[in-house]
């Protein structure tokens, strides 16, 4: 990769990473202030780290391993592998969360169906199925799941008689 392009990639990665970290801190702070804070046990910390690393690896590894065949296969099969691995991860995540948040299961089913449809020669096969479409699908799906998680959280927690927020 030429140095100019490498620099552009680095700027892009840093430029997206910093707002993501800031957004995460802001959202976590907002939830903490409004709904309180819970400190996980060391076991829960280990498992959640494993879940996060697993998600990253299942997305990045298939793409990295098959990078040489990107142009030949027009990314299609690599994206299919990512959809399968992400579906697998989502099922694991649903299981880890206690098998109650069924929208993660629905999301896994959609990812699996899209991958299968593409492999099976359904219309998606003729459509240029690139990484950007998969990323867009995953982004929309995860935002939807996040909103559903928020709805679940706000419905399950109670409003105390006294105004909340006197203590952080």
């Amino acid at each position: 990769m030429p140095p100019g392009q490498l620099l552009l990639v680095a700027v892009f990665v840093i430029g997206t990473f910093i707002p993501a970290v800031l957004a995460y801190r802001f959202i976590a702070g907002w939830y903490g202030k409004r709904f309180g804070n819970v400190e996980p046990t060391s076991h829960q910390r280990r498992v959640s780290s494993l879940v996060g690393v697993g998600a990253a690896l299942l997305t990045v590894l298939p793409l990295s391993l098959g990078q040489s065949s990107w142009e030949v296969y027009n990314q299609t099969w690599l994206v299919n592998v990512v959809m399968f691995t992400m579906a697998l991860w989502l099922v694991s995540f649903w299981w880890y969360l206690g098998r109650s948040l069924s929208h993660y299961l629905a999301l896994a089913a959609i990812a699996l169906a899209l991958g299968l449809a593409s492999i099976g020669g359904l219309p998606l096969d003729t459509w240029p199925w690139h990484l950007r479409e998969a990323t867009l699908f995953l982004a929309v799906a995860f935002i939807t799941c996040g909103l559903l998680d928020h709805r679940r959280l706000t419905r399950s927690l109670l409003s105390p008689g006294d105004p909340v927020g006197q203590e952080s």
Binding site: V38, E39, T41, L158, P160, G161, D162, V164, E167, S168
Partner: protein, 107 residues
């Protein structure tokens, strides 16, 4: 029926009270929780929750730590080893009670 239930020791009132049972059960599934979170899961007023936490603390079931997060006061509650044992025992006894009652026949 009375004979079947006789073998169960009386339940610990300190743990069995609904709000305190919710607090202890929630604390058993995490390392610690703050006052706001406990207020959100119990729906108790500030005064009521403080009262329950004081009773649990006096019974050595939880430890309460007052601190500052930034410039704001924050109350952190941790379940003690004794508290973990008490809540686990309590749920086990409730399960036993339910299992025992399931086998009872009227008459």
């Amino acid at each position: 029926m009375a004979r079947s239930l006789e073998r169960f020791d009386p339940l610990d009132r300190l743990v069995h009270e609904p709000a305190r049972l919710v607090i202890l059960t929630a604390l058993a599934s995490c390392a610690s929780a703050d006052f706001v979170f406990l207020q959100r899961i119990t729906g108790l007023t500030t005064g009521n929750l403080s009262g329950h936490l004081t009773k649990l603390s006096e019974g050595r079931l939880v430890t309460i730590e007052k601190r500052f997060v930034g410039k704001k006061p924050n109350t952190r509650v941790v379940l003690s080893a004794e508290g973990r044992r008490a809540v686990n025992d309590h749920w086990r006894r409730l399960e036993e009670l339910r299992a025992g009652a399931r086998g009872l026949k009227p008459g």
